[in-house]
């Protein structure tokens, strides 16, 4: 079978560079640490450490990033349960039942179940990735610019509507992101745009610079505001002894339906470009609560809540890579950085990636599985260490992070410009935060901006200026009409909500 052969090729690729396994372990460990510490997110971890993968081979780089991804999303549960502060946005719903369970002295059960189901959730989405990606790639080969444009249009609309209660603010943020993407050379004709005769600006802004600026620096500035938070360490003084995974076999069996349902939710949300772990954990929790026979027990320390949340957020990992690998469209902010990392190693994701880089892709699949196992082992055995890491005072942590960010930005092209741009974006991100503007639409608007424009113009050039082609080609029409319908629906929902408040 061809797939078997490809798996073997992937394995051979990994074995030919045995340091890959070390990189996976490194990535998972750092990822869990970043995920566990509130204020540091998975995206920050990936953005900060991608620069050190420049000197590595593509396989090693991907192993590191995958480790960071898997570890990062899972690590959030540690602080969610012990501190009632989500370590990353992907673990917000874990707090709801994690904290009560910890207060009841069941922290070990909560954490154990969280880790176990994070692991299982990741495996579910990897299975989805392995089955769906090749199929999607074969469909996507027939995609033309109309189809790509429609998918990007759909993802941008999705992220804008879901990101904030003010549609207008989300839209403004999205447009700002798109505007940032227009800076540089025009993607089709290469005319300089908005460069103001500064040479460095001609190549446009780098995704990494924008990411680091938008996510890492505002956290530092926000902490500066509230000095009290900088030295807090209020670890719940619970004695917990992890025996196995803390849950009994019958408890495990009772969670299976919850697991399957939450994994499915996480997988679907992961595939949708633009949204990922941050959304899926809350939705899965809500659905679990609604479908439960005892919804009133949620929020008081119900195992189902943790299982739903942690399964779903990890289930977005594998599926977020589906649009990334097959279409070159990132499934969430983390895969957006991966896109940049792949580009640096000369790999352009898209439908042809299976033909051009088959062994690498299957190596990635295998690395994902390995990273899941690594996460399971490391997080369980190393729990006490991670809890210790949580106690690092922030006034030490944040300057360290900033230095590493500067190295990352500067190390891209050895230019002062990139580090300076990162700082400017940092100020911008900070102001967005203070003014309650959502950041994800800006980021994704920036990341998808040039693709958005390129496909739009190519589509019009191909159909000779005829817009109706967007609506006559089936796939394109489906996405665009669905998007328009969804946007109208969201506007109605928001209007109804605001009317209800009056």
């Amino acid at each position: 079978m061809l797939k078997m052969q490809l798996f073997l090729e992937g394995t051979r690729l990994l074995l030919s560079e045995p340091t890959c396994f070390l990189w996976i372990i490194f990535g998972v460990t750092v990822g869990i640490t970043f995920g566990a510490i509130p204020g540091l997110t998975t995206t920050m971890a990936i953005a900060t450490f991608v620069p050190l993968t420049y000197s590595l081979s593509p396989v090693q780089a991907m192993c590191t990033i995958i480790g960071l991804f898997v570890g990062g999303i899972s690590g959030g549960l540690i602080s969610a349960i012990l501190l009632n502060i989500p370590g990353t946005p992907s673990s917000v719903a874990t707090c709801f039942d994690g904290r009560p369970m910890a207060l009841k002295g069941q922290a070990d059960k909560a954490i154990g179940a969280g880790i176990l189901f994070s692991f299982l959730g990741t495996l579910f989405s990897i299975a989805a990735l392995v089955t769906i990606a090749p199929i999607l790639a074969s469909i996507a080969i027939k995609f033309g610019p109309h189809e790509y444009f429609a998918v990007i249009f759909f993802s941008l609309s999705l992220i804008i509507t879901l990101s904030s209660s003010s549609l207008r603010k989300g839209l403004i943020a999205g447009i700002l992101g798109l505007m940032l993407a227009t800076v540089g050379l025009d993607p089709i004709v290469a005319s300089p745009r908005f460069t103001f005769n500064i040479v460095d600006v001609r190549s446009g802004f780098n995704t990494l610079t924008v990411m680091l600026g938008m996510y890492a620096i505002p956290e530092i500035l926000l902490s500066v505001e509230n000095l009290k938070s900088l030295s807090q360490s209020q670890i719940l003084q619970t004695e917990f002894n992890m025996r196995g995974f803390g849950i009994t076999f019958s408890e495990f069996k009772s969670q299976i339906i919850n697991y399957l349902r939450s994994s499915a939710i996480g997988t679907v949300i992961g595939i949708l470009p633009g949204i990922g772990g941050g959304t899926s954990n809350i939705i899965a929790y809500t659905v679990a609560k609604e479908q439960s026979k005892n919804p009133e027990e949620f929020g008081k320390g119900k195992l189902d809540g943790i299982v739903a949340s942690e399964t779903a957020n990890n289930a977005t990992i594998g599926s977020a890579m589906i649009p990334l690998l097959t279409l070159g469209i990132p499934g969430d902010t983390n895969t957006a950085i991966m896109l940049g990392a792949l580009a640096i190693h000369g790999i352009t994701p898209g439908p042809l990636i299976f033909e051009n880089h088959g062994p690498l892709v299957y190596g990635i699949f295998i690395a994902l599985v390995l990273a899941s196992f690594a996460m399971l082992v490391i997080e369980t055995l190393g729990l006490k260490v991670f809890v210790k890491a949580l106690e690092t005072p922030k006034f030490l942590l944040f300057p360290m992070i900033f230095v590493v960010c500067v190295i990352g930005a500067f190390g891209l092209n050895n230019r002062l410009f990139d580090a300076a741009a990162m700082l400017v974006f940092g100020i911008l991100g900070y102001m967005l935060c203070k003014l309650e503007y959502p950041r994800p639409p800006l980021i994704l608007g920036f990341v998808l901006g040039s693709l958005f424009e390129t496909h739009f113009r190519r589509a019009l050039m191909a159909s000779q200026g005829d817009i109706s082609d967007f609506f006559t080609r089936p796939i394109s029409a489906v996405f665009i009409i669905f998007t328009l319908g969804y946007v109208v629906y969201s506007i109605f929902k928001l209007k109804k909500a605001s009317r209800a408040q009056c």
């Binding site: 700002l176 530092i220 926000l222 505001e225 944040f398 360290m400 500067v406 203070k434």
Partner: protein, 177 residues
Amino acid sequence: MNLVYTQGGNILLGRIAKNKEIILSVFLILLSLGYFYSATTIKTISKSLINAQFVPKILGVGLLILSIAEFIDNLRKQPTEKSTTCENANDPSERFQIFIRIIITLASMAIYITLLRPVGFLLMTCIYMFVQISILNPAKKLDIFKTLAFSVVFSVVIYFLFVHVFKIMLPRGILSF
């Protein structure tokens, strides 16, 4: 710090905070106008409507419309002092102090980046870490020795880690190693 300055600063910052939405919408309006104007100067090769200027122009117009809408909306609304999700519960009288801290943080970040090449990574990072930790440290008394030691150790470790293990070039600056 002079009490008058602090109080004056608080009042000024308070006024800005109350009207921040309006200030922002005005800024966005100006930005969209500037952006649109700059877009019209982009060199175009094709004579058709869909050229290098097309998307920027649309974005500019879109932003203009939205920011005008925000502006009008905010004029109508009573400027309230709601606390945002990002903003921590701050005493208004502390506003000036916080503002100064942020300015100093940003300044040290900017100076760090600017002097990175000339002075060199190792030295500059030590200086930056020392300054930044001192600013952020909420402890009443600053343990200079501990902070200095930490800064130096961290800078050295990071330098060797990134230069020799990860092979990223970092500026040597004025030091000889």
